[in-house]
């Protein structure tokens, strides 16, 4: 899932300066899980905006907001409420903001959230990043621990020499990914995976923007 965090209130109000009426859109999937774009957050946002003297012309939660066809259907069904708003405030990930822009033509869409990472839902309110979408998954060699993501330097051939007490040089609170990988491979008797030299990555796989058609 995509992990998001609400922008500072002042930042949101800053970007809404000059817009009197606002339509609010949340997302039933990731942003609801993150407690950033669900029912409660939309109500809170509405109250906040009204306290600032703005008018909320309506609010809706798309399921999900990153689905262009659904956004278009929604736009068609809610023409009037949307039309009456100076701007749309999206409580969704960055992709949701842009799908809303693509699906609801001619309206300014503003992001209320910062989009952080693709993350794992550990338990209520706890999310952690495990994959940076590198384009070519290599974790068959590291027993499903991703060094590109979990090692602060994204190294592929073993530890940088800076880890202390098995913690990372960059953040002594976090485990050194390469020591984790080493310990896993050792238990599994697959240390030969680590002995092999990993070639440089092909960063053209991450060229932007990408498009997939299946």
């Amino acid at each position: 899932m995509i992990v998001t965090r609400k922008k500072e209130t002042e930042v949101i109000l800053g970007m809404l300066k000059g817009y009197k009426s606002v339509f609010l859109i949340g997302c039933a999937q990731c942003a609801t899980m993150c407690k950033t774009g669900g029912e409660q957050q939309l109500c809170d946002m509405q109250a906040l905006l009204e306290a600032e003297g703005k008018v909320a012309t309506g609010k809706a939660i798309l399921d999900p907001a990153c689905h262009l066809v659904k956004v278009k259907q929604f736009a068609y069904q809610n023409k009037d409420a949307i039309k009456g708003a100076d701007a749309i405030l999206a409580l969704t990930c960055g992709d949701g903001v842009q799908a809303i822009k693509d699906g609801i033509m001619g309206k300014t869409v503003l992001p209320a959230l910062d989009t952080l990472f693709l993350g794992e839902f550990e338990r209520g309110g706890h999310f952690s990043q495990k994959c940076v979408l590198c384009g070519e998954c290599i974790i068959d060699k590291t027993d499903a621990i991703c060094p590109i993501t979990m090692c602060a330097k994204g190294l592929l051939n073993g530890p940088c020499g800076g880890s202390k007490n098995k913690k990372c040089e960059v953040d002594r609170e976090k485990d050194c990914a390469w020591i984790l990988i080493y310990e896993r491979l050792k238990v599994l008797r697959k240390l030969e995976n680590m002995e092999k030299i990993a070639c440089p990555r092909d960063y053209s796989l991450q060229s932007r923007p990408q498009k997939v058609i299946v």
């Binding site: 592929l156 051939n157 073993g158 020499g161 040089e169 030299i197 990993a198």
Partner: protein, 288 residues
């Protein structure tokens, strides 16, 4: 003797280190290094050490060379992608710099520009392979070079890393990728270092032990708490703490360590961290 010759002659190698200035005034660095000419085989020039922005290693190496010192060009993976790294290697060769020490590099988060984008396009093993390829006349994409470098390539190892096995695995990969010598993290605990040497002497690659000049008990405690693989024994901490003349005691400690290391490794790399002027005296007194 230059580094390459020293390795070839199997003599006890002595290297030291200097850091370029934060600014353009490079003359003080050269003046500080000048007394090292003839005393050590080569001098490393650090590459934005601790991720602190400063004058570059390449320019520093060139200036040392002009002063008659064999430089070791330190090159980290932190700041440049494969194009820039390969290009800097060619530039070094064109400037007559023959030794390169390849390192991962500290993360920008620990330096003075913490918001910088960390690059790490290649890691140290991969960069060694690239450098070796350039020496064979090919770039990473297999294109033929018009004139090729001839480097003596080195790498680093942390002999007291814990656990040590992943460090050894990486060391073997560095050797397979063309590392012809290793410089190590600072050694204070000779016995532990000896255990490491027992494991790696069969690799048949020169290991040059790091000697950091111990300036104070505070510095020792800081390193023990924060720097990976450094263990300053209590006795040494007390020794420097109670010394009336800290510089003299520091030289004494370094000479003592070198004396014990002489028989177990292939050389020493003296890192003076600002006390460059003491290095010639250490070399003389340690009889190396």
């Amino acid at each position: 003797m230059g580094l390459r010759e020293a390795i070839k002659a199997k003599k006890f190698i002595v290297t030291s280190e200097t850091a370029p200035p934060k600014g353009t005034d490079i003359f003080r660095m050269v003046e500080d290094a000048r007394p090292l000419a003839g005393k050590v085989d080569a001098v490393n020039v650090t590459d934005l050490q601790s991720a602190v922005m400063r004058l570059g290693s390449l320019a520093g190496c060139y200036m040392l060379k002009q002063a008659g010192i064999d430089p070791i060009f330190q090159l980290t993976c932190r700041d440049r992608n494969r194009l820039a790294l390969s290009s800097d290697l060619l530039s070094a060769s064109a400037l007559g710099i023959g030794n390169v020490l390849i390192l991962t590099g500290d993360h920008p988060a620990s330096g003075d520009h913490p918001g910088a984008k960390p690059v790490f396009d290649l890691d140290a093993v991969q960069l060694l392979n690239v450098a070796r390829g350039l020496c064979q006349g090919r770039d990473m994409s297999g294109n033929k070079l018009n004139g090729k470098p001839d480097f003596c390539l080195g790498a680093v190892v942390n002999p007291c890393a814990e656990p040590i096995e992943p460090e050894l695995i990486k060391m073997r990969k560095k050797i397979d990728s063309g590392a012809q010598f290793f410089q190590t993290q600072a050694v204070f605990d000779v016995e532990r270092f000896g255990l490491f040497m027992d494991k790696v002497s069969k690799y048949n690659v020169p290991v040059i032990a790091g000697i950091v000049l111990l300036k104070s008990a505070k510095m020792a405690l800081y390193m023990n708490d924060n720097v990976a693989g450094i263990y300053v024994p209590k006795a040494l901490i007390e020794r420097i703490d109670t010394a009336a003349d800290k510089q003299k005691e520091s030289v004494g400690i370094a000479c003592g360590l070198i004396g014990r290391l002489k028989n177990i490794c292939d050389g020493v790399h003296i890192m003076p961290i600002g006390w460059e002027r003491l290095v010639p005296d250490i070399v003389d007194r340690a009889g190396i």
